[in-house]
């Protein structure tokens, strides 16, 4: 009969849809599968540890003490870039709230007019003109938004990401607008580190063999063999990847656009985002502004849980708009904005169509992507 309402404060990241994992109370954001990321960490730290243990003492004494110092700096830079890429928000676009979703649905229905019964409604596409080029914006059925240009939905993380490049299992995260430059610097510095370690491994083996013979050297420093093996295979892949991304940056394209063939073949030279100048393109991607995250992960929400004496299982009723200020709203407007959000009448009364799935809705975006892929090859 009696019921108790318990309110508890939760951070917004706990309620975010999508398949991300969050650590450190929302400060760290990654994809769900992290196995390959741990492998990357292990390979890099393991190889560097072997290098510092076996090669560096000899080289510091017989060649130059700056060699290990530079290796340490390079290693720290690689780790910083890797962690920055893996832990940051790639540029996830939050899903539309019910009112915005309904507003967009109404606009679509108004644009489509009357569809004869039994016929499939036309695909949800909006055409925009960017720098005198027509670009099609596709509707995302999961996020209920028209994706901004260059955004794409990552099926692994189940989020729309702005300027989506690709989902990289090696870093355990999507690569998008906010972390692309860290990803690029990671591949570049890793290439340099790999070349550095490989070169000095060879130098070390040659120098030591001149004094004691080749087989003795390998017996004294068994780590060298492992390092050379790892570096050899890493070289081909990472250096190739760095070269590929350098090419993409100079043309201001994303991996996603390259795979789909959006601006190649018969569309070559029509990329509306390119400044037609390699230096300007590089500067925009690498030295452009640092975009903020629009996912307020650490903002606070109030969650109401109803516990009735007859039914001991708590039922979470609703999560209201932030009553506690978050970093984006100015102090004075917060109570009024929050209160006004609370004031909105139950969505059931005003927008009965809010949760209705549109008839004959289908994720045509995937079909269109696969068709485009087939056309590109």
């Amino acid at each position: 009969m009696s019921a108790v309402m318990i309110t508890r404060k939760v951070r917004k990241w706990e309620k975010l849809p999508g398949k991300n994992t969050f650590c450190c109370d929302g400060r760290v954001m990654m994809a769900r599968q992290k196995g390959v990321f741990y492998l990357t960490l292990f390979l890099i730290t393991g190889t560097c540890a072997l290098f510092f243990a076996f090669e560096c003492p000899y080289l510091a004494v017989h060649l130059c003490p700056a060699i290990p110092v530079f290796a340490v700096l390079l290693f720290l830079f690689v780790m910083a870039m890797l962690l920055r890429t893996s832990f940051s928000d790639p540029g996830v676009l939050p899903r539309a709230l019910p009112e915005e979703a309904t507003f967009i649905e109404m606009e679509i229905e108004a644009a489509n007019g009357n569809v004869p019964a039994g016929q499939r409604p036309p695909p949800r596409i909006r055409n925009v003109q960017i720098n005198n080029q027509i670009v099609k914006l596709k509707y995302c059925y999961t996020c209920k938004i028209f994706r901004p240009p260059r955004a794409s939905h990552c099926s692994i993380c189940d989020n729309c990401v702005d300027r989506f490049d690709h989902h990289c299992p090696w870093v355990g995260n999507c690569v998008g607008k906010r972390n692309y430059r860290y990803f690029y610097l990671f591949t570049l510095s890793l290439s340099l580190l790999t070349i550095y370690i490989f070169t000095f491994d060879i130098v070390h083996v040659v120098m030591r063999s001149m004094n004691g013979g080749f087989l003795n050297t390998l017996k004294e420093t068994p780590g060298t063999v492992l390092e050379v093996l790892v570096c050899f295979f890493t070289l081909w892949s990472v250096v190739g990847l760095t070269g590929f991304h350098t090419y993409l940056i100079s043309l201001n394209q994303t991996t996603n656009e390259d795979i789909k063939g959006s601006w190649s073949g018969k569309n070559r030279g029509q990329n509306p985002y390119s400044h037609k100048n390699i230096i300007k393109n590089c500067c925009e991607v690498l030295c452009g502004p640092t975009y903020p995250s629009v996912l307020d992960r650490r903002g606070l929400l109030q969650e109401d849980t109803l516990i009735s004496s007859s039914n001991p299982v708590p039922q979470t009723t609703k999560t209201t708009a932030p009553l506690i200020p978050n970093e984006h709203t100015p102090d004075d407007a917060k109570p009024s904005i929050a209160a006004s959000a609370e004031k909105s009448p139950s969505p059931k009364e005003e927008h009965p169509a809010a949760t209705k799935v549109p008839p004959l809705a289908s994720p045509e975006t995937d079909a269109e992507t696969s068709i485009a892929k087939e056309r590109a090859h």
Binding site: P94, I130, P149, T290, P292, P330, S336, S340, P345
Partner: protein, 158 residues
């Protein structure tokens, strides 16, 4: 005239949310953050066109300033790269500084212009920088209200 409210507090106490208008992004110049200045029909009876356009244009200017690629952004980028981006732990980026200015501007516009007309602008960053959401309020006391009605309610709070 539309129903009048003294300030944001009274908006909260005496008004109920009637409708929401969403101002979409303008992609004609690329992916830089810019909003359409087209005046929505739902606001026709609530606010003067010039005031609305001024607000949106000022917001667009703020965003253009934040995303400008020039000397200062290069310097910030190169300095940050040289410190392996650790400098952002203690320094605020230019974009974040402009976002604070934008938040202040929106609050000021709400207090001075929009709340007295029964409207409320939500900062675009809370909607993923996709839309500017403008909430339209109706005075609770007015009967048979529909959004955009121009009847003067007898029980306006003062």
């Amino acid at each position: 005239m539309a129903t009048e409210f003294h300030n944001l507090q009274e908006l909260r106490h005496s008004a109920s949310l009637a409708n929401k208008v969403f101002i979409q992004r303008d992609y004609s110049e690329g992916t830089t953050c810019k909003f359409q200045t087209k005046f929505p029909s739902e606001l026709e009876s609530r606010i003067e066109r010039t005031l609305f356009e001024d607000t949106v244009k000022t917001l667009n200017n703020y965003y253009a300033e934040a995303e400008k690629i020039g000397g200062q952004s290069y310097l910030e980028g190169c300095l940050a790269c040289a410190t392996a981006y650790l400098i952002f732990l203690c320094m605020e980026t230019r974009y974040e500084k402009v976002l604070k200015k934008i938040a202040k501007y929106i609050q000021e516009q709400n207090e001075k212009i929009y709340a007295p007309r029964g409207l409320l602008i939500t900062d675009p960053i809370e909607r993923g920088m996709r839309v500017i959401e403008i909430s339209i309020y109706e005075d609770r006391g007015s009967s048979g209200s529909s959004s955009g009605s121009s009847s003067v309610s007898g029980s306006t709070a003062r």
